[in-house]
C-alpha cells in the first residue's frame, strides 16, 4: 500500500472508532447524574450507598462527581450555565435561596405528598428548613448544630467543672481566662470570630441578622455584637485566644493538626457533623464533649437544628421521578444509613436514628446526644441566607470588618458601621 493510501485508511479507522465510542451511550439503563462535596470519608460512604442502590435497581446507573466544598460551587455554576446540572445535587443553606429564586430547582412537595419520598418520620420543622415560601427545594440530609468541642481532661487539669449547657459569654470569658492561666495554652485558638457567633447573638435575642425581605440587616442594636467583639479583644490581650497572626498559623495545617488535637487549646468551634475528623485525629483515650454555644446574658439558646446540607433536584433534570426515588432510599433505607453512619449529620428520620443508636461509637453517640440536648431548648431555625450572603461574607464581613478588628486597626464600633453599610449596599439589590 502506498503511504498515501495507508494514511487515508488510518484516518478513516480513527474517525470511525471515535464516532462509535460516542454512540456507546447505552440506552437500556437509565442514567442519573449526581454531585456532592465532602471529605474522602464522605465520598467512600456515598459511593458505597450508590453501588448498593444500583445493585437493587439494575436499570439505574448513577454517574457521580464529587469535590471539596470550595471547588464545588464554581463547578456547579458552570454546569448550570451549560445546562448540564445533575439530577441529584447536594446543596447548601447558603445558596439554596439563590438557586431556588432563579428557578433552577424543582419543588419536592409533590414527591412528599404522593409518598415517593417518605417523610412520615421526619419532623415538619426539618422540611420547613429547606422550604422557601412553602415550597421545599431541598431535603435535609442530616441535622447539625454549631458546637464547642471541650477537652474534658484539660478542664479537669485546670480545676474547672464543665459549664452548664446554658452558659453565658460571661461564663465563657471567665473559663477561658482560667484555662489559659492554669494551663498556659490557648483556651480556644481561633473560630470565635466565625459569622456563626454573629448569627447566634441575634438568634438568642429572638431576632435574625437579616430582615424578612433579605434586603438589609434585621436588627437595630449593634451593641450586643460590639460587646462580644470587645470580649474577644480582651481575651486576645490576655492570651486566652490566639492573635490574628497566631490564628493564621494555627489553622494552616488541617483538622488533623489542629490545636485541640495537639493539646494547644482546650476548646474548639466546629459544626457537629464535622467533629468526626477531629475525634478521629485525636485518637482513643481523649475525652471530648460537644457543648452548645454560649449565649448573651438572659438570652435564648444560640443553637438551632440546622439542616447540614440538602439534596435538591435541579429543574434541568430529565428524570426527576427516579431522582426522587434515590433520595427516598438515601433518607429512609436502614442499611444505606448504616453505611452513611450519620456522617452528614444526625439522620432526619426518627426511625433511622433509633436504628443507628445502638451501633454508634463514641463520636456518634456524642453527636446524637448533643443534638438531643440542643433540641431541648433550640431556637427556631432561621430562614436561609438571602441572595448576596456569599458576597457579604467574603468581601465585607471577613476582610473589611473582622480582620481589621482582629489586627487592631479599627474598633468594633467602626466595624459595625462598615458592616451595616456593606450589607445595605449588597442586599439592597434584592429589592
Amino acid at each position: 500500500m502506498s503511504t498515501k493510501k495507508f494514511s487515508l485508511a488510518l484516518l478513516i479507522i480513527l474517525t470511525l472508532s471515535m464516532l462509535s465510542a460516542t454512540m456507546v451511550a447505552g440506552q437500556d439503563t437509565l442514567e442519573l447524574q449526581m454531585t456532592w462535596w465532602g471529605s474522602q470519608n464522605r465520598h467512600d460512604r456515598t459511593i458505597a450507598v450508590i453501588e448498593a442502590y444500583e445493585a437493587e435497581n439494575p436499570g439505574i446507573d448513577i454517574v457521580y462527581e464529587f469535590s471539596n466544598f470550595t471547588d464545588y460551587w464554581p463547578l456547579l455554576q458552570t454546569k448550570a450555565a451549560a445546562g448540564q446540572l445533575p439530577c441529584i445535587m447536594q446543596h447548601d443553606y447558603a445558596f439554596l435561596a439563590e438557586w431556588a429564586n432563579r428557578g433552577l430547582l424543582l419543588p419536592l412537595n409533590p414527591y412528599f405528598e404522593d409518598g415517593t419520598i417518605d417523610v412520615s418520620n421526619v419532623a415538619q420543622s426539618i422540611i420547613d428548613s429547606g422550604s422557601i415560601d412553602g415550597q421545599a427545594y431541598g431535603l435535609s440530609l442530616g441535622t447539625n448544630s454549631p458546637a464547642l468541642i471541650l477537652d474534658v481532661d484539660q478542664f479537669e487539669a485546670a480545676g474547672l467543672e464543665l459549664p452548664p449547657t446554658d452558659w453565658t459569654f460571661a461564663d465563657f470569658e471567665q473559663i477561658a481566662n482560667q484555662l489559659h492561666e492554669e494551663l498556659g495554652i490557648w483556651a480556644i485558638s481561633y473560630g470565635m470570630f466565625d459569622p456563626q457567633f454573629w448569627r447566634g447573638i441575634y438568634i438568642s435575642r429572638g431576632e435574625w441578622i437579616f430582615n424578612e425581605e433579605g434586603t438589609g440587616l434585621g436588627y437595630e442594636d449593634d451593641q450586643p455584637f460590639i460587646d462580644y467583639l470587645n470580649m474577644l479583644i480582651r481575651l486576645q490581650e490576655s492570651g486566652a485566644i490566639a492573635t490574628a497572626e497566631e490564628a493564621v498559623e494555627a489553622s494552616a495545617n488541617g483538622h488533623e493538626n489542629s490545636p485541640i488535637v495537639t493539646g494547644g487549646e482546650a476548646m474548639r468551634y466546629q459544626w457537629s457533623n464535622q467533629v468526626v475528623s477531629i475525634f478521629a485525629a485525636a485518637g482513643e483515650g481523649r475525652n471530648f464533649r460537644l457543648w452548645p454555644l454560649p449565649r448573651p446574658e438572659g438570652g435564648a439558646s444560640a443553637n438551632y437544628l440546622k439542616p447540614s446540607m440538602f439534596f435538591s433536584i435541579p429543574s434541568q433534570c430529565q428524570n426527576p421521578d427516579e431522582a426522587a426515588a434515590f433520595i427516598n432510599y438515601f433518607t429512609n433505607d436502614l442499611e444505606a444509613n448504616e453505611i452513611l453512619f450519620a456522617e452528614r449529620g444526625v439522620p432526619i428520620s426518627t426511625e433511622v436514628q433509633e436504628h443507628l443508636r445502638p451501633m454508634l461509637d463514641t463520636v456518634g453517640t456524642e453527636t446524637f446526644d448533643f443534638i438531643a440536648t440542643v433540641a431541648e431548648d433550640a431556637s427556631p431555625v432561621p430562614p436561609p441566607e438571602p441572595q448576596g450572603w456569599s458576597d457579604l461574607s467574603a468581601n465585607i464581613f471577613g476582610p473589611e470588618v473582622i480582620e481589621p478588628i482582629q489586627y487592631g486597626l479599627i474598633t468594633p464600633e467602626e466595624g459595625m458601621v462598615i458592616l451595616r453599610e456593606g450589607a445595605a449596599d449588597i442586599l439592597s439589590q434584592n429589592e
Binding site: 460551587w73 450555565a81 438557586w99 473589611e400 480582620e403
Partner: protein, 323 residues
Amino acid sequence: MSKPAAAIPAPGSVTQEPVQPRARQKTKNKNFKQNNLAGYLFISPWLIGFLLFGLIPLIMSFALAFTDYDILSGGDFIGLDNFHRMFFEDARYGRSVLATFRYVFASVPLRLIFALAIAMLLNTKRRGIYWYRAAYYVPSVIGGSVAVAVMWRQIFGRDGVVNAVANLLGLESVNWFGNPDTAIWTLILLAVWQFGSPMLIFLAGLRQIPQEMYESASIDGANGWEKFMRITLPLLTPIIFFNLILQTISGFKVFTSAFIVTGGAPLDTTLFYSLYLYNRGFANFQMGYAAAMAWVMLVIIAILTAISFKLSSYWVFYETEVK
C-alpha cells in the same frame, strides 16, 4: 574609504527583487497565491484555535464587562457601573492594585539583578558548567506549579525550614504568613527564586559581546567594574529591556503563588489582582465585574509597556542603529 557597515545590509532591511518582464507576471501571481494557500492551511489549526478560544472569548469578555452577568442568570447591560464600583466603591480593589504593584516593583528588579549576576558567573567554559546552568534554570520551570507553592507554605510555616534555621542561628521564629508586613515577601522571594529564564536570555546576550572589546579595554587599563559598567551593561541594554517588559507583564499576572500560599491574606496584603479577579468571578460569581477588572488590567499593562518603550530610547542602545 567605505565603512564595512555599508556593504552588508542592516538586519531587517528588505532586499529588492530584480524587475521581472511583464509576461511572467501572471504565473508569478499564481505561484504566489498557491504558496500563500499552503501557508494558511498549515497554520489553520492554530488560526481556528485562536479564533474560537482566543478572539471570540476576548470579544465576549469585553461585552460582559458592561453587564452584571453571574453565570446563573443572563447579564443585563449596566453600562459603566462595574468600573464605577471598582474605582470608587470597592476598597479591596484598591488594596489588590497596591499589593500587585508592590509585588511587581520589588520582584522584577530583584529577579533581573540576580539573573544578570548569575549569568555573568556562569558565562565561562569550565567543566560541568552545563549542570550549573540547568540547576539554576530548573526553579523557573517548576516554580510556578502548585506543588512548589504548597512546599513554600511548609517552608515558611511555623515549624518550617526557615524558622528552624533561624532558631539554630539564635533568632526567634517569625510568623511569615500571619504578619501583614512579611507575607508578601515570601511571595516575592518565590518569584525571585525563579530567575532561571531571564538568566538564560542574559547568558545568550553576554555571549554576543565580542571578547575583543574586553581585551582592548584591559589594554587601556580598565578594571572589572569599569568593564562591566562601560561595556557589558550598555551592550546588554536591549536584552535588559526585553527581559524587563516580559517579566513585568508576567509579574502582573501572578496568581498561583498567592492562591496557594497565602490566599490573599493577611489583611489583603497579598491579594494580587488576578487572585481578586478570580475570587470575584468564581467564588462570588460576579463575572461581569471580573471581566471589567480583566480589561482594566489590560489597560494598565498596556500603559506601563508604552511608557517603558517611550523611556527606552533614552537608555537602550541598539548596535544596528550605529551609523
